[in-house]
Symmetry: D2
Subunit: 336 residues, 4 copies
């Protein structure tokens, strides 16, 4: 059960509400976000929700039978639009592409990539400065200095930055330079990180775990929302199955179902979703067709020389072709 | 290595070829299909294949490094077109839809379905008369009598029939009444059945196993081809993963990869691919977008009353909408 | 609901029973096995089963809430003992080992293997004469002639034969020479084969599918039982998971659960259960510890020269050590 | 390649070594643990390692072809024994049991559990004070205050504490009160947490990820070791598969393989390994039989009233029986 409070609710009205919920033995959590205040109530007793909905100080009340609450579409039936500034929006009919290298490598690479994105009208650049790597001996990214450099170049060009944050201690330092914080698949149930990202007012793109369920993804989003941040994007990036012919199995079923279960925008990541460069394009298009609100993919001026694994990375010519096809496909789908 | 023989190859030419292959210690299999004769050679010795390619009686020779041979696109680079008669074709740019109930139930149901298909210009009807069921106490289908009735009604209406065959002993009886034999997921490695279907001249649609790999699917197709039947369609119908939110996980990656690995047409089955009715449409469209040459799905005049599980079955209104969208999407993709 | 009939039930008593079941709208299946006659009833109406249990001609009646019925332990609470003749028994405290090569290869190999088994007091030999192979170009086994030769040698030595049957047409020819028919993982839902094996009076060992669920395995066993054959062994042989370090994942959880769900004996197959020779021993011992009634594993006088894949096959010295340890472990477990 | 340095290696000797490694273009990482100093070298050039091994200041050098290095048994062939103080040891023939509740709940619960453990000679108590929960609305544990209370009671009784740490910021506060830090399955690739745990001198038990591979587990252990902490235990706790009959699939294959791949002790967690209370015992025994150096399981004075999910939790009578059987089984295995 979600109760949205009026901005001007009085202390007495709050106390009355609380007493009422206590009386029916509902456990409650108070949620205060950048946009509104809510009470999330969990309990078993059946009662007429209108008896609360009509109380003064209450904007509305909804039952939500899902285990997740605030991210559920059963409560908020309209798609959430994430505003990124400068008129950039994702969700609710607004489609955006995010592209760029696996890792930020150098000033020259940043400039080349930005130039490529600008030329193609792409306004969000992806790239890693903190890289989660299976082996401790692998390159772990340029860190905060790389991010600052990247930010400076991006601002000049009007490009937004999405990059992965790996631990709570990094958030404060990164905040000034990041437009969308990405939570990687390995951290999709790092609940302390989710808590902390819920306490800032900056969009977060949450990747599904390597073998995360759809419900777990939504519960993880609920962590962020219930801590106070409503600006969440979900990302399907392929799941781990028995099949060895590709790296991950792009789960388009999940995209279809997420669009029904939640009001949050869903982004498709075909690069990790299949992990093999020459199939990224068709998987990306399928992702749009099944309902994704955006696509994120890896592109590099020379994938063969990328610092990190370039097997799933498009070169700029391939990326150019994909930009065009993605937009055409989204437009086609909207009119179908 | 695949050697295609000329139709008029002489016995002496054959003997010379055989001697040559023996000399380099290649194990060979002779394959004679409805269209041509081939020698499949497996061996390790490196040699100049032109020394065989230029021999009299030999049409051409190709190396194939895949474990499967005759179904590989490394050998036959052009997409195979399966001709179903009356101008109906699948593959190589020809897109077809197959729709109908899970199980054939009654004369009335057959008639209603055919009428629906005809009205929508759909020319292939699916339906089960032999049903593989987990429980021995479930309805197992109307059998050969149901098939005969269905066939009679279909012929009158110009509709082709695709239906599942479960054992070799059924093939002869069914042959007269079936346009495409379907091999179900549970029989995808029933090698005796594959052998037998390789010995007839009738198209076979082979479903991927419940947790079959892409390679296993192609090897199973190789069974059919190497027994003499080149008319094979492959079908992606979702795989078994850890996710419990849906019934199977539609593997669009597999469709993308199959289109590269083999010259055979690939059919998407969104009904089993997700197993939840209200998502069948978007999954079907994604399947087309990623490269499928056709789509098979379940439709029933009243899914709630279907003999078999109707949870993934569209009603006729939903099916109508999907027919149109599938065709538009295929056309869009061809021009993208 | 399972109703066991008295041997001497009269036609009138039958008719009365039938009328009673019709009255409560239960769908029934009559099952007649080598041991008894049963009526399996499926319906939803609640009623006092004693009203049937006390009817003349009825031995007993049990509710079974599982989807499978006759193989359920909810009905038959005592473990089934499978008698193989000559005093050989499996299940209900009787532990047996089955060992031998992947494929039967030659007279010499048969003799060597039998000699090895006899020396170690092992009384059941495994080996394939019909081999299911992913590729049509692989060795498919010696067939019926190999089986006859093997049978002749085995009878002389007092050794029982377990071997795989792949299709219904093979059953009649094989029947005289086989002590236990094995159904392979790829055929675990080949329902026609299961039906046919239910119509003979010979033990059947049913392997779990490559990604078969525990319930599907029990439903497949129900096929055999409900067709008339109560002599069924179940075999856990590893399942397909995402992990690539081994061939299959031995599912000891399944062994533990099967021992609770069914009265049928459960056999552990560590050779396929891990697929890597040097770990077969410890996996086999774990299988016994978790409750298996028997173990089947691959042994060959020279695994490196085995016709089929020898990567999971023990040599005779390794097999000798395992025979001893398996028996000690079973004895230890029985007394724990 | 791992080079172990002498304690008294001189600066000149170090410089000579470094120059030599540079000359062959090896990337190196310096590792300084509580026990020794190492250089981990990664490169492709073949060379005679004795040319380094015989240099002054070098204790020994080993090639390690695995992706992980310091945790590999290819380098350190003897099993590592983890010393916990007061004579308590795990690994290398020393077997220990860890038991206790899912969550620490109250003083009374702590006392009751400790009394139970002491009576049974169990010296390590498990329990969560920081609980990773899928839903943000679930009980998240008593936190540091619960830990302090628990620690006080445990010290008095001579009981060691193992408990989960979820984020780097918790480590300092917890350090004084924890004998073994547990890294949960969801954090098994939380690389910052692993880095931080590598910088303290306290044993760490690392759980395998929910769908983590054996290699990923070893790489995660490598993070801890390469940061300076050699005292690592690995824990198999079941993996996520398609099977829905149980919660996780206990992967005994992994235990068998880990014992070959690494010198670190391996602990079996049957509670999560199957997730169903009445099967915990037999799964635990199988874990010992396949080679585990210890077992951790959940026990509670009243599982039905446990704060967290008690479906996999034994009551004290069941735990008592299991303590005895585990020790007998370990002894039996050692003598087999």
């Amino acid at each position: 059960m979600i109760i949205q409070l009026e901005k001007n609710i009085t202390d007495i009205q709050r106390a009355t509400l609380e007493a009422k919920l206590n009386a029916i033995q509902y456990k409650t959590a108070e949620v205060s976000t950048q946009y509104s205040e809510y009470i999330v109530g969990v309990g078993k007793k059946e009662f007429d929700i209108r008896s609360i909905g009509t109380m003064p100080g209450i904007r509305d009340i909804h039952r939500v039978s899902d285990a997740y609450k605030l991210v559920s579409k059963k409560w908020r039936v309209e798609d959430t639009i994430i505003e990124l500034g400068d008129g950039l929006k994702i969700g609710g009919g607004h489609f955006e592409i995010m592209a760029g290298p696996c890792s930020i490598e150098s000033e020259e690479q940043i400039e080349t990539t930005i130039e490529h994105l600008v030329k193609n009208g792409v306004r969000i650049m992806r790239g890693g400065v903190y890289k989660p790597r299976s082996s401790p001996y692998s390159f772990r990214g340029l860190g905060i200095d790389g991010l600052k450099l990247w930010h400076q170049k991006s601002r000049e060009a009007g490009i937004k930055i999405i990059t992965e944050v790996m631990m709570t201690d990094q958030i404060d330092d990164m905040l000034e330079y990041v437009d969308i914080f990405q939570v990687g698949a390995r951290n999709s149930q790092n609940f302390n990180l989710l808590d902390a990202l819920g306490k800032i007012d900056r969009p977060v793109m949450l990747k599904r775990g390597i073998s995360g369920t759809i419900d777990e993804l939504l519960q993880s989003a609920e962590y962020i929302f219930s801590n106070g941040n409503e600006r969440i994007l979900l990302c399907e990036r392929g799941i781990r199955t028995y099949e060895k012919a590709y790296r991950n199995c792009m789960d388009i079923n999940a995209i279809a179902m997420l669009k029904e279960k939640t009001h949050l925008p869903v982004i498709a990541d075909p690069s990790h979703g299949i992990g093999v460069r020459r199939f990224v394009e068709s998987v990306a298009l399928a992702g749009v067709m099944v309902g994704a609100d955006g696509v994120i993919f890896e592109a590099h001026q020379c994938p063969e020389k990328a610092f990190s694994d370039g097997q799933q990375t498009l070169n700029f010519d391939e990326a150019d072709a994909l930009f065009t096809k993605l937009r055409k496909t989204f437009a086609f789908k909207q009119n179908l």
